[in-house]
Symmetry: C2
Subunit: 413 residues, 2 copies
């Protein structure tokens, strides 16, 4: 098929798109923005809210806003707003810090939940222990992970006296043993867009008696996650991709309710204290998800995120997933139609069960091709060494955008 | 003396105040705001900047802003803007994360710089070592510290196999030994406002072969710190008090240039990698202060802070210190004049060499007294169990404010 066939098809798909109206809630222009998996577009609800936070809440109310504007409780309140998007009941997610910092909390916390590692008894008295025979002293990490997870997991391993073992997600079931303390996996691979089988891998991890940690950066807001349903132990994610929270907006930490009483954070800042304003020298962790908090929350970014999340009020994540798959299907179809054979190769799996909300195309001279695409108004990104990456945010990307992106891509060759 | 004498004195002091013009750069009202040591007032430069960041940089340029709007380099660029305020040459400070997270980086980093603790060799291979005979396995922490520093230091001690020993700053010289790896101290005590002797304590710590870490939350922006001059090894601080960065604005980490090649962060996120976009599985730390970075910087808060720091362009920290001492001197004088004898007792040392930029008054029923002061337009804060805390930000507090605050306080009894 070619342009005369694909354009009417795009129009038909757009006309039937039940999420088409959501696009008006975002600030967009005449480019095709397929980089929402790097930085989500600006929701229209954000600028006015941020102005209110700066001018009235900070400028006028000042410290009174910690109570009166709900600043103090923002991390758990906004966590509860993210919760339904990732299949979590309330009271299990707190927002704050970067994804990397949350990975650190999660990995060290997981080793402790598993009774693993060779730390002292946790009283700060310096009894450096060693794992007993048969102790859990190994952390498995996704070898194809976004690098920061691997770097931080290595640090957590070093500090808890564990060994870090990189394996691909497919290799996890075979690598699990009675030595495994924790397993850190990405729900969707940042480079290929491959969706990993969270329910089945989590079940394998549990069967081995280990703790699962899922990084949801590339899945939350794009597809159903089902944290509670599938028994995930700990999870982290950023909020600036499909959740549109803004550049560097705070990340979040999920601690399954059943684990909360034993969750033992390596970053026990005063915000995680049971009585933070008691300012006692002894640390007593707060109950519930709050013990994942650390220091003073970053209010400007946090409340911008809260405004951004309002776009989800009337959207079901299942509808988003349905549209996401239709978008990536249609993009692959258009690429096949427009791009001369042999010029690009999809790294993204065809089966829907293995596909996130992005398409990665391997291509010669990909860096230059992406620059030329951007010059022509098609915004994706380039990942070393040879990957064109296109993210499809169902809330604001339409089928006409998809057709245009593939058509312009075809003109590159 | 009484009102007929103190008011003209305040007017005279205000007329001679060379920083009086700075007040116009802040959004203030008809209250007396003496809580800038909790949350600084809003600088007028901030709202317009934040609006530009949200609407144009995020809304319109989107991912291009990582380069074009200088987002990516913000942590070190803003660090260099803070540097002269704390007596540091460029290239030693990065901004990001909360104070608590930076305390963690600093304490673990200090133990490693000291060759202390009982960690493995740092290859993530899980060789949990033990300190050799005479090894440095003790961390001293200010027993009167803001609690989060103590909690985080305890976690750092536990993870590095060290013992945590709380001592008052006065006790530090006597407590130092060949076992001491690191010492974490507050430059100004958050409760009493006492200024500790940074040059002398740092020299003692060095004489014992240990690493000094200073928490500057209550001194940066209020008085000269002299990090480089006094040989401080590591320092952390928040930016929302005397630096007026906004609620929960990002904190900073100082790593002395000489230590940077060996600074080994426990939070080696991808932003601290020598080639972050290479996305290699192996971690190679960036040179310089950048290795104190962790994850994606929180841009909204970071660039609000950058705008807030512009008020310092034409201000010397020495002039700020001179006015700060004049303000607290005058406040103590007014309190003596207006408050009936025996009702309050200053916890803040009289000698200028021991005084920060706040005055703490012990007072019966302090919680209620502070509530009534706030109702009368005098904003300070209450700290458990019996402390009225008044912070004096020289950039926007005048002598008339000081006189009014003390006069209203006198009317409480």
């Amino acid at each position: 098929m070619s342009e005369p066939e694909m354009r009417p098809k795009a129009e038909k798909l757009d006309a039937a798109d039940e999420l088409a109206g959501m696009r008006a809630q975002f600030v967009l222009d005449d480019t095709v923005y397929l980089d929402g998996n790097s930085l989500g577009a600006l929701p229209r609800s954000v600028p006015g809210r941020v102005e209110d936070v700066v001018r009235r809440q900070w400028g006028s109310l000042r410290i009174r806003s910690w109570d009166e504007s709900g600043w103090w409780t923002a991390p758990e309140r906004i966590g509860d707003r993210i919760a339904p998007l990732v299949g979590a009941a309330p009271g299990q997610i707190v927002v704050g810090d970067s994804t990397s910092v949350n990975v650190f909390k999660a990995v060290v916390g997981a080793v402790r939940l598993a009774g693993g590692g060779s730390e002292g008894p946790g009283d700060g008295e310096g009894h450096a222990g060693r794992p007993g025979p048969g102790g859990r002293d190994e952390i498995l990490v996704d070898a194809t992970t976004f690098p920061t997870d691997g770097y931080i997991a290595a640090s957590a391993a070093r500090l808890t006296g564990c060994t870090l073992r990189p394996v691909t997600p497919d290799e996890v079931p075979g690598a699990l043993s009675e030595r495994t303390a924790a397993v850190l996996l990405n729900h969707v691979d940042y480079r290929t867009g491959r969706l990993h089988d969270l329910p089945s891998l989590t079940a394998s991890i549990h069967a081995a008696g280990a703790i699962s940690i899922w990084d949801l950066c590339h899945s939350a807001g794009a597809l159903p996650v089902g944290l509670d349903e599938h028994g995930v132990d700990l999870a982290v994610g950023c909020t600036y991709k499909y959740l549109n929270g803004g550049p560097g907006s705070p990340a979040y930490l999920y601690v399954r309710e059943a684990h909360q009483p034993r969750f033992d954070s390596p970053l026990p800042g005063w915000n995680s204290h049971a009585d933070p304003f008691g300012m006692t020298p002894d640390y007593t962790p707060a109950p519930g998800a709050l013990r994942g908090r650390v220091g003073t929350p970053d209010i400007l970014s946090m409340l911008a995120l809260e405004a951004a999340l309002e776009v989800w009020d009337d959207v079901s994540i299942d509808a988003v997933r349905t549209k996401s798959l239709a978008l990536t299907d249609f993009f692959l179809e258009c690429v096949e139609s427009y791009v001369p054979e042999g010029e690009v190769e999809s790294l993204t799996p065809s089966p829907h069960t293995q596909r996130g909300s992005q398409v990665a195309l391997r291509c010669a001279d990909a860096g230059n091709v992406m620059r030329r695409l951007i010059d022509r108004g098609v915004i994706g990104d380039f990942r070393e060494p040879d990957v064109l990456r296109f993210g499809f945010t169902p809330l604001y990307v339409g089928f006409g955008d998809v057709e245009r992106a593939a058509r312009v891509l075809g003109e590159m060759f």
